[in-house]
Symmetry: C2
Subunit: 293 residues, 2 copies
């Protein structure tokens, strides 16, 4: 095992953390995985399914001997986890996470592990599904997916290299971004559309003719609103964590709608056709590229 | 052929009109289909593929002997077609269409065929795809799909019954709505999301970090923007045809976004979670029902 690690601790053994453990085991990049989770039931299932080798509900004890700790809990629990780990963490242990927002993770790491930043590599795997829990863990979840690493200025390049190699062993492609840039990009391509979809469903649901509208909603509605079925707790946390970038996007979107409304009001057929053509062109080119990924 | 018709003229032999002809032929509900189209190439292909039995580029001649004329052209060409047909249409000939907006079709029919309204049954089949032309015509396109009929007060109930029977023979479910109500419902569940998706893609494409954003756009972006790949010409026409209902929806959507922005600004975690939960609940219940259709 030239590039791998010996002991991995996964904190929060769900779809994301569990799939990372499974993929690394299959690739032979880890010897021993310890799962830590608030739910004893979930831990037992993870062990039965071979997602983890050992289980523990004592985080401090579990991480004492770890080469890497992956925090795969909801972001709201991360600070408490790091505080519990801090006194016992050995200086070489790599610390990473899987959160959808990164500026807040950098802040939490700076507060909880100020002396350990050289070994901290915040990460965001662009993968997921509507399923959760250890039973959802699967080989291949990260095959051909992007994983964005957002190292701190203090992070040791060798730590970035090792975490990158582990994700590549899972089949992922690695990108490195500054945490703030990451948050701006994902505000635009992921967080904003979620908020737009939630808002759209709420608008329709609140109309006098809601029942009739929903009766006639078809495939366009289905795809446009798919992400409005996402976890409310997760999206509350993401929205608050990435508040500034998201507010900028929301306001820009309103300005974009103001322009469209003005064109509709003055029945400007040429401007509307041009607006729709631009969007179709961008979307079509993007989709062809996405399919080839 | 107790419920069927003898001669059907399909004006505009594309996905929608061609699939209607194919389904009726298979069901044995029509004896003879005449295709009329501006494109001679498209007509020849339609005949080769057995979508139509005869072809013509002389609309007036073709409709003289028709039991039913289905207008399946873009809405912008409908008035000219009706004017060409008006002098030769026999009093019994049924006239229908397939447009996504119905108030405008009702107005066009009143102007072009004021003495023929008893035989006019505007219709909107809720089906389609991104493909077009006679080659896209397919059996089964209307299987289990909704078709909304919006008869005029002057329309003979027997005409509604016959058009309904033909669509049912294609496998469709029939709903009857007032044209204005149809346009309000589809402004909400179809036209608004198209405009929101077009606007969203244009916003992202216009940002300084557009290339990087599109690099990291994934499955959420893919589904949310699918409808932004739709025909600019069709959506220009739909937008203008359903202008009033769409403007009301667009303004209500802006108000919905104002409320969301206020909650994000004051970091109201409880209100955001509640807002997202409501949307998820509505979307989940809707989707379960949609899957059972």
């Amino acid at each position: 095992m030239r590039q791998g690690i010996r002991t991995l601790v996964v904190v929060g053994v769900g779809l994301i953390g569990g799939s990372f453990a499974l993929a690394l085991k299959r690739a032979g990049f880890v010897e021993r995985v310890i799962g830590v989770d608030r739910s004893q039931d979930n831990l037992r299932r993870a062990q039965e399914l071979g997602v983890v080798d050992e289980i523990s509900q004592d985080l401090a004890q579990a991480v004492a001997d770890a080469d890497m700790v992956l925090l795969a809990t909801p972001v709201g629990q991360m600070a408490a986890c790091l505080q519990a780990m801090a006194p016992v963490l050995s200086p070489d242990t790599l610390v990473s996470d899987v959160g959808s927002t990164k500026g807040n993770v950098v802040r939490i790491l700076r507060e909880a592990l100020p002396g350990h930043l050289a070994r901290c590599v915040p990460a965001h795997p662009i993968a997921g599904s509507e399923l959760s829990g250890a039973v959802a863990a699967q080989y291949g979840l990260y095959e051909n997916r992007d994983v964005v690493l957002t190292p701190l200025p203090e992070t040791d390049p060798a730590a970035v290299e090792t975490i990158g190699a582990l994700w590549r062993a899972c089949g992922a492609h690695i990108a490195v971004l500054d945490a703030d840039e990451h948050d701006r990009v994902f505000a635009a391509v992921s967080h904003l559309p979620h908020l737009l979809a939630f808002s759209y469903v709420n608008l329709i649901a609140g109309q006098d003719n809601a029942a009739r509208c929903l009766d006639f909603a078809a495939t366009g509605f289905r795809d446009f609103t798919r992400i409005a079925g996402s976890s409310p707790e997760m999206w509350r946390d993401v929205t608050l964590a990435n508040r500034q970038a998201l507010l900028a996007e929301l306001r820009d979107y309103q300005t974009e709608l103001d322009r469209l409304i003005a064109e509709v009001e003055r029945e400007d057929a040429a401007a509307l056709a041009e607006r729709f053509s631009r969007a179709r062109q961008v979307r079509t080119v993007w989709y062809q590229k996405f399919l080839r990924k």
